[in-house]
């Protein structure tokens, strides 16, 4: 795959279709793959990477990149195309300045899950018949492939590219992923259990803002959390209230626009399952206002931007589910 992508990038650069390429390069560790912009074939040859750890969504980078001179080539996985579509809908990306090559998506690996097995010093991985061969500085280790897959890939919603100029490989289809299972499990707990669950999770928050910064739906130039008057400006939460407030508002601000790409949970250094908050909103929107998938098209109105006269009343929340 990586070879085909490098060839495609070099070809489009030499033909002059694009003048930059956004892809990924290796960070400090083998499992630490970060988005990067390449300007010529040599750079691409040298450091372009696409492997099982390449999970980062590059859509958000295109908000800034698409406003520069010339066209940029972006490799988008199926889940990234939803975020990209959503950004076009919100007039954040200049579509003409981006050339999209759709690439087959995951499942991608979670280095944290490998490390949780006690395997450290990872140098590289190989997937052989769904057994993961992990090359480490202490020798070779193995583990089942599906035990190391990222949560967001384990409940993948779609293998279909909703927008592209060209495809490498085959286009897939939307999947029935049971992605609301965990949300349902929580809904069926008692209020006290839910409270305890979220306290134990949210109290880990260090307010690094990684979830906000990586989110393709969070693209405000000035964020409400950067306002010094908000009282919760870029600092570690000093009270349980601030943790709750930050996470409720973060999820609320992307409600109806979140494509469920799962980047928030992936980047969380404390492994808080943040996507559950977003999925709760998606699930509620689906139940109350009809099935809606953000980013699927660029014409429909977001659920919170429209209304029906016979919408349910807010107080029905108090009567349903487990108390």
């Amino acid at each position: 795959m990586q070879e085909a992508m490098i060839n495609k990038a070099k070809q489009l650069l030499s033909e002059g279709v694009v003048n930059r390429v956004i892809g990924w390069k290796r960070g400090e560790f083998a499992y630490d793959i970060t988005p990067a912009v390449f300007e010529n074939a040599e750079e691409i040859e040298k450091s372009f990477v696409y492997d099982d750890f390449t999970a980062a969504n590059v859509s958000k980078y295109l908000v800034k990149e698409s406003k520069k001179d010339g066209k940029i080539l972006a490799f988008l996985k199926p889940c990234d195309t939803y975020s990209f579509n959503q950004l076009i809908k919100e007039h954040r990306i200049i579509r003409e300045n981006v050339y999209i090559v759709g690439i087959p998506g995951g499942p991608k690996l979670d280095a944290e899950k490998i490390k949780a097995k006690g395997i450290t010093g990872i140098l590289g991985v190989k997937n052989e018949n769904y057994t993961l061969k992990i090359d480490t500085i202490y020798g070779e280790e193995t583990m089942p492939f599906y035990e190391a897959v990222l949560d967001k890939c384990a409940s993948c919603k779609s293998k279909k590219h909703v927008i592209y100029d060209e495809l490498i490989g085959e286009d897939g289809d939307t999947l029935d992923s049971n992605r609301f299972d965990m949300v349902e499990k929580l809904e069926n707990m008692t209020a006290q259990e839910r409270y305890d669950f979220w306290r134990s999770q949210l109290s880990k928050c260090i307010r690094c803002n990684a979830c906000r910064n990586v989110c393709p739906a969070c693209t405000c130039e000035k964020c409400v959390f950067d306002n010094p008057d908000s009282g919760i400006e870029n600092k570690a939460p000093s009270d349980s209230f601030e943790e709750n407030m930050f996470h409720i508002i973060r999820a609320f601000h992307v409600a109806g626009r979140c494509t469920d790409c799962g980047e928030c949970s992936r980047v969380c250094p404390q492994n808080i399952p943040l996507h559950l908050l977003n999925r709760k909103f998606i699930k509620d929107i689906n139940t109350f206002y009809g099935e809606f998938q953000a980013g699927e098209d660029i014409t429909s109105l977001a659920p919170l931007n429209e209304f029906k006269q016979n919408d349910c009343e807010a107080n029905i929340i108090h009567e349903r589910g487990v108390e």
Partner: protein, 148 residues
């Protein structure tokens, strides 16, 4: 010195009232000499859709035990459609608060028109009783703001 040890818990309740209907409704309740508890602190907003989820959380932070949002009846909004948006937003917000394990019935949305002074008083009486039963807000409070 007499200390009243059995002093009943008195909740603090914030009511966001829209300028055009509910605030006038509260006024009507007043001019009609209808009783409603003094636990209710009314904040006037231009329209119920002015209320940002942050306002509600902030009210809880500053010591509110319950928050009620009152606006015009659907279809009667002074700005045509404001309260329809409020309804969607608050449905999602209340659902999220419930998901995080915050007690239900600390939040409510009621539609009160300018002619419904009696409904305003009755709603406030009923809501105050409901919050009184729940006790002080502990799950969504800011310890730094707690009154000593």
């Amino acid at each position: 010195m007499q200390v009243n040890e059995n002093k009943e818990f008195q909740p603090l309740i914030v009511a966001f009232c829209c300028n055009w209907c509910s605030y006038a409704g509260a006024d009507l309740a007043g001019t009609n000499r209808l009783n409603y508890p003094d636990n209710i602190k009314i904040i006037r907003v231009p329209c119920s859709c002015r209320v940002n989820p942050m306002f509600i959380l902030r009210a809880f932070q500053r010591g509110a035990d319950g928050v009620i949002l009152c606006g015009c009846h659907p279809g009667d909004c002074h700005y045509t459609s404001g309260n329809y948006f409020t309804r969607r937003r608050m449905t999602l917000l209340f659902s999220m608060l419930d998901f995080l394990g915050i007690e239900r019935n600390r939040t409510r949305v009621e539609w009160v028109s300018a002619a419904e002074g009696a409904k305003f008083a009755a709603t406030m009486n009923e809501f105050t009783e409901a919050v009184k039963k729940l006790g002080p807000n502990r799950r969504l409070e800011d310890l730094r703001c707690r009154k000593q």
